[in-house]
Amino acid sequence: MSSYIYEAIEHDKRFPAKIFTTSIGKSSYHWHYDYEMMLVLKGSVILNIFPESCIMKTGDIALVNSKTVHGLSKTNEDNICLFIQLKQELFENWQDKNQNYRYYLNSAVNKVEPKVPYATFIRNAALIGLEYEGKHLSNFYRIKALLYTLIADLFEYTHYDIREYSDKSATVEESDTLLKILEYIDLNYYSDNITEELCSMIGMCEKTLYRFLKRHTDLTVKELVISLKIEKAQFLLSSTEKPINTIAHECCFGNDKTFYRIFKKETGVTPMEYRLHGSNVEKNKQVQGYLSFSKNEAIELMKRML
């Protein structure tokens, strides 16, 4: 199982975006170059963007910025979500090619409020989702127009930061470095000297590595290792019947006590509770099994959001 994956997104051949509706079970921590707009059409999902996680309910919309490590997991409710993955090239500024943009758009957290109601973004996203279901040439052109409208809205109606590079073309290498680091942690999370090993592998001092990871993922090596271990533990808890102390050992938590403490801190529930109920919003409800969603239902839900 590889959790910190770099996800290579296959875009639609007709336009620089990938549009789909799906029901989320669990999407482990990953990152990609694309900007990802997500709209919850039904139920709720947990969106983790370190160091924060939030529950996105029906009608919530969020933009996950390019190269941001994030993960998704279901709650006890069924969910249907719309995803619009936007290629970085769409955000290229022809006047200054050395800029990257980080937009603040998340209706569940609402930390930096946009300049218009979230409804503006919700409506546009739903329109894109609906047009995507059409088969006519007009749908194709409409999608292109709506995608650009979405980007214009991000520039005009959200607060955003610009990361200005001295020479962005020279920083492609930086992203490759990130990928290498994440892969290394994924494969060597159990090592006691992982930070030192990483430093010698990448050729950075500890402080630089810290800064580098903070910049790209907002996480430290330690945090990355812990969340990776937790994720592995969650997988083993829910998909196997291995005893908890075995899982604690397999996931390199040292002893049961540490495992229990860290697991509870990170997930809010004990390993046993997790095994019984999953990590739920409303813990008293019965965990519902995974249901394949109906496309027609998604379309009806998107229509309601217009």
Binding site: H159, D161, I162, R163, E164, S166, T208, R211, F212
Partner: protein
């Protein structure tokens, strides 16, 4: 300079001879611009702009007489698109107090004009802003007449070195923008002679061959028709040998009054001269003698300059590497450090450090107004780009600062914070009219009628976010004085960057991070309150200019400024000592030693002031009468000597209509700003 006044006068006989065989129509044709209003408008609509090509005037092909080919400035050469070198605005260059540098800029501008096929530079703007709210303050060098004269003359010498005619503007009293077409300025005789005209005379004495009359009126008469200003003062008293041209389109209002009032050339279209002027001569309303005089002036000047050399100036000179380097050098020397609490500057740029840049102007190509001085370079380095390049191993994050909570969060997580605040072309600059269709540049601009401070949201940004991170600097963008007292305590350092030109972002960053040691000095005073400055009614038909303005007014009234005239900090320390003052037959000489006691190489502008406390008439406490920029290596010292002709110590006696030297004891000061605490004092007796 080859085309000195003496050299030009030598062309008089030939000019007379040619003019003698011209018809009245031909002579009059020399006296106005030959582009039509429609041509100008077509240029503007055709993806070009005002003055895209040099504007022609006069010229007689059959006699081999070339037309005047006008190119505007002063920020560079206005012609072309995506090509010319865009220098810092004059105000930033004024802050260098570096006449040698300004002369080099003049030469570079002259070379680009030649490469465009032009032969006249209309960008020596030396108007004295009575109040710094003047919208076009960025086009001039500062508030001080002596300094204006020195800087303007340097530009004249440089431009004319390349055998391009330098045109000095706007003569005179043109320091209000919104009302420029209707305001009549009035003042008393001493104010006229001692405050508003000496810098024009200085440029004429340095050989300027052309003068542009202003739009406004003086004592009720259109400056473009002004017999007193044009004929009596300029041509007779000052013995000006060149020619006068009107400001464009609305610079003269009446054919007869203009021609009789001493106007030699209507620019840049033929509206009131041409046939109308021929008719006025035939009717006897304008003596033909007047036409002959103007024709000879124009002919003599154009012959002298166009025959001075056969050099070919290749188009590759336009925006060439050397000229762009000069633009950068001017920005490095002009940008002025006016506050540096606890030496927060220079900032460190360690690998991986986080630099947060706030304020929308950081991400804007902003070289000044969109009026007739707008230059169109190949590129402009924004402050944000400059910072990202200079601190290439740091993480540079920009936010416009419109959400204060978010800006605070960013600032709290940053190693250092840079606020970039101030103005752009919408806030100040050349203004034509509310009805944009009647304007020839399409500019908005205008005077700063509401406030001389930052925008409310910028003040709030600095006041709210500044205290979150003490490792902060405010970079001010603007063409003239910006009030700072409302927020200066909330930020560590303040850097006045003016409009620093196409390489301005580079220079700002180099100074912020210590690659370049700042050496600019404020060419204006920053008061604590706007009411400390002269009051101006910006939208009016009449305005009185009092004798006192700027630092001289504050000092006379005993009002302490927020930042004194001539002030600017460095990253090193200078000690000025061993001052010596002496009086010769024609001049006073002041000298001192300047020691760089710090550990960084730097430059200091040594200033000479003369005090008039023993005067029998009302005179300023002291006035700038000399300056010299010196570069001193760390731990080294230099001796600086500045002289000032006694002529420059005189006052104008309106009773006798003479300049008079008072026989009394004068105070004399030498040092690093106009603040007495930065000056060594002595006395001398005449």
């Amino acid at each position: 300079m080859k085309c000195t006044k003496k050299y030009r006068i030598a062309y008089t006989d030939r000019a007379k001879e040619i003019v003698g065989r011209l018809t009245l129509e031909q002579k009059v044709s020399l006296m106005s611009g030959s582009i039509s209003l429609n041509d100008m408008l077509v240029d503007m609509q055709d993806n070009k702009h005002y003055n895209y090509n040099p504007y022609p005037a006069g010229g007689i092909a059959e006699e081999g007489i070339q037309p005047v080919l006008f190119c505007d400035g002063p920020r560079g050469v206005v012609c072309g698109k995506g090509k010319s070198t865009c220098y810092p605005v004059s105000m930033c260059r004024g802050a260098t107090f570096d006449t040698e540098l300004e002369e080099r800029i003049g030469k570079a501008i002259g070379r680009e004009i030649r490469a465009y096929g032009g032969n006249l530079f209309g960008g020596v703007c030396i108007n004295l802003p009575y109040n710094p709210g003047w919208g076009r303050g960025q086009e001039t060098y500062g508030e001080e007449s002596f300094h204006l004269g020195q800087m303007g003359s340097a530009l004249v010498r440089g431009v004319q070195e390349e055998n391009v005619i330098a045109c000095v503007k706007h003569y005179a009293f043109n320091s209000m923008e919104i009302s420029r077409f209707k305001v009549s300025v009035d003042c008393d005789k001493r104010t006229e002679r001692e405050v508003y005209l000496p810098h024009f005379k200085e440029c004429i004495d340095n050989g300027a061959a052309c003068v542009m009359s202003s739009y406004n009126l003086y004592k009720g008469t259109q400056c473009g028709h002004h017999d007193y200003l044009l004929n009596k003062v300029l041509k007779e008293e000052w013995d000006f040998d060149g020619f006068v041209m009107s400001d464009f389109v609305w610079g003269i209002r009446d054919t007869v009054e203009a021609a009789n009032g001493g106007q030699d050339m209507e620019m840049c279209c033929t509206l009131l001269f041409g046939d109308k002027l021929v008719e006025a001569v035939r009717d006897g309303r304008v003596p033909e003698e007047k036409i002959d005089q103007s024709a000879i002036r124009i002919m003599r000047t154009i012959l002298a300059f166009t025959e001075a050399d056969n050099r070919i100036y290749d188009k590759s000179l336009i925006g060439c590497k050397e000229h762009v380097a000069l633009a950068l050098e001017a920005a490095r020397r002009g940008i002025t450090l006016i506050q540096n609490k606890n030496n927060v500057l220079p900032f460190k740029k360690d690998k991986g450090s986080r630099i947060v840049v706030l304020g929308k102007l950081a991400n804007k190509e902003n070289t000044g107004d969109y009026g007739s001085s707008r230059v169109y370079p190949d590129y402009v380095v924004t402050p944000l780009q400059g910072i990202a390049r200079e601190a290439s191993e740091s993480e540079v994050i920009f936010n416009d600062g419109s959400n204060l909570e978010h800006a605070k969060r960013l600032a709290s997580e940053a190693d250092c914070v840079v606020f970039v605040v101030g103005y752009d072309h919408d806030d100040e600059g050349e203004y034509v009219s509310e009805d944009k269709s009647s304007g020839y540049t399409g500019s908005i601009g205008g005077d700063r009628v509401d406030s001389l401070g930052l925008h409310r949201d910028e003040i709030e940004l600095i006041r709210e976010v500044g205290p979150v991170n003490s490792n902060s600097a405010a970079v001010l963008i603007g063409g003239n004085m910006i009030m700072i007292d409302e927020w200066k305590d909330c930020v560590g350092a303040i850097l006045m960057a003016y409009y620093p030109g196409m390489e301005g972002g580079t220079a700002i960053a180099e100074i912020l991070f210590g690659k370049v040691n700042p050496s600019g000095k404020l060419p204006f005073v920053i008061p604590v309150k706007e009411s400390d400055l002269p009051r101006v009614n910006w939208d009016t038909t009449s305005q009185y200019y009092e004798y006192y303005h700027g630092y001289a007014k504050l000092e006379k009234e005993g009002i302490a400024p927020s930042v004194p005239y001539g002030f600017g900090l460095s990253y090193t320390d200078f000690k000025v000592y061993d001052a010596d003052f002496s009086v010769g037959k024609d001049e006073i000489t002041a000298s001192c030693k300047v020691k760089n006691t710090g550990s960084m190489d730097g430059a200091e502008v040594i200033q000479l002031y003369v005090g008039f406390s023993n005067s029998g008439v009302d005179r300023p406490v002291k006035l700038l009468r000399g300056f010299k920029r010196v570069e001193v290596k760390a731990k080294k010292e230099k001796k600086v000597t500045i002289t000032c002709p006694l002529e420059k110590l005189k006052y104008y006696n309106p009773e006798t209509e003479q300049w008079e030297l008072e026989h009394m004891e004068y105070e004399v000061y030498i040092g690093t700003s106009s603040d007495n605490r930065d000056l060594l004092k002595g006395t001398f007796r005449i």
